[in-house]
Symmetry: C2
Subunit: 436 residues, 2 copies
């Protein structure tokens, strides 16, 4: 009955991964982990193992956690329940767990790995497992502020060539700072949510005035999203060396983009309706602790970044992504080729004193490499529609058609030859509303 200790190294959700999600379970939605195709009811497992009492625990983390410096609460000595995050799992959101900070996150992971690895707890573990096929997963946390970066040099160069022909493809600031902007938190949805084709204004070169209607250039952006835990005080930057204490984990993120709406609206204040209709994230958040074997050097930064962006924390991640369009793999972006590190993005985001909160989410921007088959959006992959892609069924595509389904998937190297899986990030396009 201890099949979870006999999983092959290529299983992406073995004991080296242990991601978190929020599932609808009897008794209410709460935090779960995952082994292969089973969810682990963490609240049940913690109770079975005696780490939290059977009574429903009071929520002591719901308010004020960010303002008070949540990390201080994660430093209780191991071996007592006081610092054990079990109680924070009995919630319909990861935010109370995120509030507890890096020591509690490490404690929780160590406890879970130990329980799953020891025959002593086999019966408890078996009772806490639920087949994923019987579960519905929710948005794993209330997204506080959402920032989307633009950290791939290949992507920014391609988009610059397409959107601003005749200018330098990279703007003068691009290699000095990780460019980013705020997106709409309230329209971030969990993998599997259908996406209604957005309506809006567009104006092509041949249109004398803008026209209104459904987007005809609906695109994706294959990204990673980084989930922030713990807060900072307004006015106090998070230094580069402290950033990873606030980056709890990673999701796959599809920044759905209506290129025609975006092209008409984005000068001078940036993308707005071309992006704000929906952003999809995977239901599973993979903790950064699972990705230690995936740390890699950045491909190189020239000119050297300013001191607040420089330091050992500025590393990259060796994560291989793939983009499936109606089941056909059309691109394989590699995260290790990104120019800016996640640590640099968070240090930059807060260097002006902007405070961060548990539930903040920042996206990497489209992941694109130098080869055509590693471009992470269809604007680039089809070169603005000039070079259609052919799917496995023989049909061709430039931008998304109604009924199309996109799934992003990713894996990374884990310890001892194990594979670390990221959660799938999928969505299907529904037709525009009739009023459009």
């Amino acid at each position: 009955m201890s099949w979870w200790r006999d999983l092959p190294a290529h299983e992406p959700f073995g004991l080296a991964t242990l991601p978190y999600a929020v599932a609808d379970l009897p008794g209410g939605p709460r935090v779960v982990s995952r082994i292969a195709d089973h969810a682990v009811d963490l609240t049940a497992l913690a109770r079975e193992s005696g780490r939290v009492s059977g009574a429903k625990p009071a929520d002591t983390n719901a308010e004020g956690a960010n303002a008070e410096g949540a990390n201080a609460r994660g430093t209780n000595a191991r071996g007592t329940n006081a610092g054990f995050p079990g109680a924070s799992w009995d919630h319909p959101s990861l935010v109370p767990f995120l509030d507890q900070g890096p020591t509690a996150w490490a404690d929780a992971r160590a406890w879970l790995q130990q329980i799953l690895s020891s025959a002593h707890h086999d019966e408890s573990v078996a009772r806490s497992l639920i087949p994923l096929s019987s579960l519905s997963l929710r948005l794993p946390f209330e997204v506080a502020d959402y920032v989307d970066f633009y950290a791939s040099e290949h992507h920014a160069t391609n988009v610059g060539r397409i959107f601003r022909p005749g200018s330098d493809p990279l703007t003068p600031n691009w290699k000095h700072l990780p460019i980013g902007y705020h997106g709409r938190s309230g329209t971030i949805v969990v993998s599997g949510t259908d996406i209604v084709r957005p309506c809006g204004q567009r104006k092509g070169p041949a249109d004398p005035t803008p026209v209104f209607g459904p987007s005809i250039r609906l695109d994706i952006e294959c990204e990673l999203g980084f989930v922030v835990g713990g807060g900072s005080r307004l006015g106090e930057p998070v230094p580069l060396g402290a950033t990873w204490d606030h980056i709890f984990g990673v999701v796959l993120l599809n920044d759905w983009s209506a290129r025609d709406i975006q092209a008409w609206e984005y000068v001078p204040l940036g993308p707005f309706l071309g992006k704000s209709f929906a952003t999809t994230i995977s239901a599973w958040v993979v903790p950064m602790a699972a990705l230690e074997a995936a740390h890699v050097a950045l491909p190189g930064q020239d000119p050297a970044p300013l001191p607040y962006l420089a330091g050992d924390a500025a590393y990259g991640l060796d994560i291989d992504c793939q983009v499936e369009w109606n089941g056909s793999v059309v691109s394989r972006p590699r995260y290790r080729e990104m120019y800016w590190s996640p640590a640099q993005m968070l240090a930059h985001l807060s260097v002006n004193g902007a405070s961060i909160r548990s539930g903040d989410l920042f996206g990497s921007g489209t992941i694109s490499g130098p080869e055509k088959e590693t471009r992470g959006c269809f604007l680039e992959l089809t070169w603005s529609g000039a070079e259609p892609v052919t799917l496995d069924d023989g049909s061709t595509r430039t931008f998304l058609e109604d009924g199309d389904t996109i799934v992003l998937r990713a894996t990374a190297p884990g310890p001892d030859g194990h594979v670390i899986g990221l959660g799938d990030c999928g969505g299907r396009i529904l037709p525009a509303v009739p009023a459009c």
Copy 2:
């Protein structure tokens, strides 16, 4: 003892205004209203008048209200407690009240005006009054998504001339859609909060590479902020005619802006760190119901807007603002000169299917008129620093110095010659952090 019925018409917080805020009161922070220099403890008053029971009411609105179409709950018949929003006031936030929708908002206002106008309740009212001088006010609601628009033609034209000399000052899209972008919700603070001077990258024309340090061109933007109540479903636009059912009220808003950081970063994805360090809003939210006498026609839109932006709901507001710099009035922006209506902003924001939620906030953008003395930011008022302003003490200013205090104030015409006051929006600049 019924002094609140004998207030002069020029009192900005008489019975025609009745704004809402959240105050720290014995028993916990909760929603209050205001008469002159007193807060009204609405929870106490509702209990005294028998409209809610003495027991602390359960919160039935905390979750899922947006997704369920909150407005439906505001339609209970008057005269029963079922639809009376009293229970939603015993919270440290306006969000439960915002969730109840326009019928409940109207019921609450009618009840409060009736109670305050009738001698029958004088003793109850007197017991519910607390001098504002003894109270601390909080951020009145958790800001969900924050969008800032750019709705003044005079402001956009001036900024275009300053930031993009040699180009048309208005971009080609400006008169076809209300340009906007998302800002940082987590750094919106209540009036009276000190603002730490932000640090960041800037690059002047004479700098060969960007330099890092405290902003040396720290500015304000005098705006109105519109507070959204009730939600919409993802994928379903809010039509122009329904927008005012979702605009609960208005605050004064100061969009603090570091012009040097903004100028270097904002191409191509828009303002980010130049804005995200702090945005101040007034503690008092004035309901739109108090501003019915302030409805005015827009100054005129040419070309005619697309159909989704056209209709009777697209009116303006006759609100006079003033900007005080260390106590000297340096500008008097007039809201009635804004090009785009708040209704158009909300219809545009959601036309792509983006959902809205209680607690969403959208700013108008800087309010500027054609005369120099009506410009709502110092970038314009001093023409990028070339024309300093002289304060009453004889000192001169271009941008903000450490220790400077800014207060925004505003009034509007009310019924029968009464004046409607908006809440003050103030903040003081503290020096940058030492690490900067």
